[in-house]
């Protein structure tokens, strides 16, 4: 196998992203959906770093740091939302949230 390193890194990032996308589509447990979003964000960050090392520019790594900060904020708010959902409905099933009217 004689792939260019940039191609290999982008392939890995794409595989991880598609796995996260499949999981967020087929799962019903809302914590698993949050984990899948984390996988997708991580894959996007990996693609940014691979691009940064391809061109030798620092912009990709700067974007990776921004993605890290955004993932941290997203997880804290998402976990608080899941906590409220669990206290209101006593379940982690995301379909049950359709019972909320307004």
């Amino acid at each position: 196998m004689n792939l260019h390193p940039t191609t290999a890194g982008l392939l890995l990032a794409g595989i991880l992203f598609v796995l996260g996308l499949i999981s967020v589509l087929i799962r019903r447990n809302i914590i698993f959906m949050l984990l899948s979003v984390e996988i997708m964000l991580n894959a996007a960050g990996l693609a940014f770093v691979v691009a940064a090392s391809h061109w030798g520019q620092a912009d990709g790594q700067v974007m990776f740091m921004f993605i890290l900060a955004m993932a941290a904020a997203e997880v804290s708010v998402g976990l608080a939302l899941i906590l409220q959902l669990y206290h209101q409905l006593r379940t982690l099933d995301s379909d049950e949230a359709s019972r909320m009217n307004g």
Binding site: L12, L16, S53, Q61, L68, A71, A72, V77, A80, L83
Partner: protein, 176 residues
Amino acid sequence: MDIAFIVAALIAVAATVRVVTCYNIMHALLYLVVSLLAVSVVLYTYGAPFMAVLEIIIYAGAIMVLIIFFVMMLNLGLETAEHEKAWLRPRIWIVPGVFCLVLLGELLYLIVQNKQPAAGIQVVPPKQVGMALFGPYLIAVELTGILLMAGIVGAYHLGRQHKKTLHRFLENNLNT
């Protein structure tokens, strides 16, 4: 392509597949931590050691521990002890443990060997990242700080438990 990259990428894909196909959330979290460590080794092979360290500290160290504590907090009840007992059987953590040992050996090999990255990869030193971060990206850094503060305030507001507004004498009357 580097052999270190291939091993780390295979471990990352295998661990992520296990995350997607797992039913028990604690097993999935364990495999997700392994996947993040493998991605960290991949970042190291791409000439970004600072990003690899940040990946371990923030993703595997902070975010995953937050989710693990959250899952443990949700499962309050009588069956918690049995769950804990079931979660800590050796059959569960032995595969992630082997993956982690392989990754640790690989990382130590890469650090000790201290060889240049593969052809076609240009190393971006952390100094250049810092100069870019506090030069042209200064506004974005400030906006990230505002985003983090909005996350803190939003998490506090959403996760707050509403206290009962009843006075304690009235509550006593209700109970009797």
